[in-house]
């Protein structure tokens, strides 16, 4: 793996995680202020933009690497998103949720290694 592909994988993951956080924020905002609200629309648009960037990077990476090679990175997104949701969105992270998330991440990595 070259430095270039590592950077692309990180950007792909980063935009994906950020996009999910924006989506959740947008839905929170829509619950308070409605869908026509300017804030809701701009947060949602930012999320869609990030997801679009992530989508094309994923496509480019899929053309180069096997899905099984890229999968462990996707597995990492589970733990990153759960952590970020706790830190940024202030969602409650219980011990139970942490253990479950870690098991899912480990499982995804195992699935892709074999």
């Amino acid at each position: 793996m070259t430095w270039w592909s590592l950077i692309l994988i990180l950007v792909w993951l980063g935009t994906f995680v950020a996009g999910q956080l924006f989506f959740k924020r947008a839905m929170e905002s829509s619950g308070v202020a409605g869908f026509r609200n300017r804030q809701t629309i701009s947060i949602l648009s930012a999320g869609i933009l990030l997801m679009t960037v992530s989508f094309f990077l994923n496509l480019g990476l899929l053309q180069r690497f096997d899905l099984s090679y890229l999968y462990p990175f996707q597995g990492l997104s589970v733990i990153i998103i759960t952590l970020m949701a706790a830190v940024i969105l202030k969602e409650k992270l219980t011990l139970r949720l942490t253990i479950g998330t870690l098991l899912i991440t480990a499982g995804v990595v195992l699935v892709s290694m074999s």
């Binding site: 839905m27 989508f55 899929l62 597995g75 759960t82 969602e91 992270l93 098991l103 195992l110």
Partner: protein, 135 residues
């Protein structure tokens, strides 16, 4: 979070199930489309734009857009830290559907991984179920 709990088709957990089906579908479509259009010699191929030449990719995009609406609906009701791990049921369904439909082999290490994901999902699903009661 709203006070009246949506049931039946509008149930957020049912919608999460629909979301998972959509993701399995578009992941397979994306891989097939990406494979069909792979041409690493062009300089722009890193950004994946050449994939748009495949009709499979366009079909995948349609499924993704549908999935986006479903996913946003799910996020309206379920915290991201619970909904996202649950959505990774995909990682179990993809290899199992390859095993059942395409008769691909699954190594013992991969079975271990699948079991780990299922246990993890069961653990995460408990708070989701409790959330359901509160909705």
């Amino acid at each position: 979070m709203t006070n009246n709990r949506p049931s039946g088709f509008a149930n957020p957990l049912f919608q999460l199930g629909l979301n998972i089906i959509c993701v399995v579908l578009y992941e397979l479509l994306l891989k097939a489309g990406a494979k069909a259009t792979a041409d690493p010699s062009t300089s722009w191929s890193w950004v994946g734009i050449t994939g748009l030449a495949s009709p499979l990719i366009w079909l995948a995009i349609v499924v993704m857009l549908l999935d986006l609406v479903i996913w946003l609906y799910v996020l309206k009701y379920i915290p991201l830290s619970i909904a996202f791990p649950l959505s990774r049921l995909v990682d179990v369904l993809v290899p199992i559907s390859c095993w059942l439909i395409l008769k691909e082999g699954i190594s013992s290490l991969r079975w271990c991984g699948i079991v780990l994901v299922i246990i993890g999902l069961a653990i995460v699903a408990k708070p989701a179920a409790r959330l359901e009661e509160r909705l």
